[in-house]
């Protein structure tokens, strides 16, 4: 799992940075289109978009971390072969 996260982090970091850069000047521009939409709930839309996008990932992440911690607690430091979330151990 650690490897996945690391890979995802490196893979996601670039695009997310780019996204931040793209959005930031947009805000500074205060372009006419954004103003002409003339709805006062734009901020809420963006906020809830971010919130709803992040929440499921946080929930799943939280549960997975909790289960890992529990697996460690129940089965001791090296997880036993029958625990649900152990790393595979290949006997050469």
């Amino acid at each position: 799992m650690g490897a996945v996260r690391r890979r995802l982090r490196t893979r996601l970091a670039g695009p997310l940075l780019a996204a931040a850069v793209l959005v930031a000047p947009g805000r500074a521009l205060a372009c006419a289109v954004c103003a002409a939409g003339e709805t006062n709930n734009r901020a809420e839309f963006i906020l809830t978009t971010a919130f709803m996008t992040a929440l499921p990932l946080l929930l799943v992440g939280g549960v997975v971390l909790y289960l890992r911690a529990r697996a460690r607690r129940v089965h001791g430091a090296p997880p036993s072969p029958t625990s649900a979330l152990e790393e595979p151990r290949r006997v050469a």
Binding site: R11, A19, L22, V23, R42, L57, V60, L85, E86, P88
Partner: protein, 570 residues
């Protein structure tokens, strides 16, 4: 409510199969056995697919030959047309793809493939099907009520769907919404069952990386479904209140916001695509490895890409709203995430293609379907890039291009995936073999016309034509004879394809009764379901198996046989 007492005790060490005889009702109508519940989902799904197919036939006839009396339906009025396309979409996604790919295969396969006797909550499992069946009844009722069936597209954007004076279907739209909501509850219960079973009931020795890919995929799909469905249920309740209790959640005149629904809908709607995609991908993985006699190329990579898809799928949904009046700046982020999600999906396809290398490929009927899945899904995948790129989506949004694109994803998922799975597991499900010759006729008779239907629609989309327009004669400039000819080509292809589905039905029914008796492991496969009798009795295994190795150990050097069942000690 959580059910903690299993309805029947865990199988004893040996000599399990003699269960007392059950009555017809408790065996077929109110079963607790996961296999029978899977069958119920399967047959309901097939029946609904026929309904959805009939709808497609009706409105495609109208599009090709506007104004004719469609045999079997009659004159297609604009209201009919809207109701037909709406319900075709809803049925094919919610009442065919979901029940067949997730519920039917999930129910049948998960306990068998992880080597246990049943789901952990058999009664919740039964309840899940009953709620699903109720949703089917409610959906059918929505056609019969006064005012007619709902016709506001499967996305049900308010205010059209919220107010009877706009939609002109005061009851139809509420019943439709109720049916969809019930269906979600059914799959939520089913999904909880799948995840818990796969976590807690695996056979001894079966580690994380010994679980067959298809089980992983169904479990991941269930997790994604579970986490994405909540906001849509919230939205459905709000919309229902708007329709029936006169609230104004989505009514701009009363302080509501119509775009809010799109927000809630697509939050579910996009992960839903991957919810049905992943199980189909899993089915293909099983079949390709068996018939190429190859170990799956980079098992872990497939898992990681599936995880990645799952994570990214929650971050792409607003690409459906590029031109819907959202903040234009948001489009940039969602373009990036949408194109990013092409990476894990592409990688998954590469893995499957790489698995073929060095194989010993047998082109049996299930293998043909699995290979066709990859070939056709690639078209759906690459055309998605056009739509995910915000600048190009300005032109393609809501056009036939979109329609052709998602049929190139959903058809492989729901139909090709289903045929791949059913032809592969039929011997296990029913204890008899399907006829291979008829199966191949059916395969070619489906795949060739399928391309004939949807390739022309890409061209219509490029020409700027829109979906959901019941008669293009009103647009003389857009509806040139050449473009009309393409529409006719699509319709004729559809007729041919539907005709060939009869071959499958004949094959299915005939094999069910008179097919050759299936041996326990006709394909010489490794996974645990093939180590149970065909068909497996209630309780599945005579002795609960112990697992010694991963599911894809084919053609291991130095062994006499080219397969190595997961539960074989040596």
């Amino acid at each position: 409510m959580a059910e903690t007492v299993p309805s029947h005790p865990p199988a004893p060490e040996e000599g399990h199969p003699h269960h007392e005889e059950m009555s017809f009702w408790s065996k077929y109508i109110f079963p607790l056995d996961h296999k029978m519940i899977g069958m119920q989902y399967l047959f309901t799904g097939i029946a609904m697919a026929m309904v959805g197919g009939f709808f497609a036939y009706t409105f495609r006839m109208q599009l090709a030959f506007p104004g004719i009396e469609v045999p079997g339906w009659g004159l297609v009025s604009p209201a009919d047309y809207n109701a037909l396309v709406t319900n075709h979409g809803a049925i094919m996604i919610f009442w065919v793809a979901m029940p067949v790919l997730i519920a039917a295969f999930g129910n049948f396969l998960i306990p068998l493939m992880i080597g246990c006797d049943d789901m952990v909550f058999p009664r919740i499992n039964r309840l899940s099907y009953q709620i699903f069946f109720l949703s089917v009844l409610v959906l059918i009722a929505s056609f019969l009520v006064e005012g007619g069936a709902f016709g506001g597209a499967w996305t049900a954007y308010p205010p059209l769907s919220a107010k009877a004076e706009y939609s002109l279907t005061p009851l139809g739209s509420s019943l439709w919404l109720l049916a969809v909501a019930l269906e979600f509850v059914a799959f939520l219960l089913g999904g909880i069952n799948f995840i818990t079973t796969a976590m807690n009931s695996r056979a001894p020795g079966m580690k994380m990386y010994d679980i067959p890919i298809v089980v992983w995929m169904i479990v991941l799909a269930s997790i994604m479904f579970m986490l994405s469905v909540g906001p849509l249920v919230a939205g459905a309740v709000m919309l229902f209140f708007d329709q029936q209790l006169g609230t104004g959640f989505f009514d701009p005149a009363r302080g509501g916001d119509p775009v809010l629904w799109q927000h809630l809908f697509w939050f579910f709607g996009h992960p839903e695509v991957y919810v049905v995609l992943l199980p189909a991908m899993g089915i293909v993985a099983e079949i390709i490895t068996v018939f190429a006699r190859k170990k799956l190329f980079a098992y872990k990579t497939v898992l990681y890409t599936a995880f990645g898809t799952g994570i990214l799928s929650f971050t792409v949904w607003a690409h459906h709203q590029f031109v819907a009046g959202i903040d234009p700046r948001m489009a940039h982020i969602f373009t990036i995430t949408t194109l990013l999600i092409s990476v894990p999906i592409a990688e998954m396809c590469f893995v499957y293609i790489a698995t073929l290398y060095g194989g010993s490929i047998r082109l049996t009927t299930p293998m043909l379907w699995a290979l066709a899945f990859i070939a056709e899904f690639l078209i759906g995948g690459v055309t998605g890039i056009f739509l995910g790129a915000s600048g190009a989506d300005i032109y393609f949004h809501d056009s036939y291009f979109v329609l052709a694109h998602f049929h190139y994803t959903f058809f492989p998922i729901a139909i090709i995936g289903f045929y791949a799975g059913i032809t592969y597991w039929f011997p296990k499900m029913f204890g008899r073999m399907l006829d291979d010759r008829l199966g191949k006729i059916h395969f070619w008779g489906t795949i060739i016309p399928f391309n004939g239907i949807f390739l022309p629609l890409f061209i219509l989309g490029l020409a700027g034509q829109h979906r959901r327009i019941y008669n293009y004669e009103h647009f003389p400039e857009l509806a040139t004879p050449e473009l009309q000819a393409l529409r006719v080509l699509a319709t004729v292809s559809l007729l041919v394809m539907l005709g060939f589905q009869l071959v499958f039905l004949v094959n299915f029914v005939r094999s069910l009764r008179r097919g050759e008796k299936a041996p326990q492991n006709p394909w010489k496969a490794n996974t645990l379901e093939w180590q149970a009798p065909s068909p497996p009795p209630h309780g599945n295994f005579a002795t609960l198996p112990t697992v010694y190795r991963g599911p894809y150990e084919y053609s291991v050097p130095g062994r006499a046989e080219d397969y190595w069942p997961q539960n074989a000690p040596e």
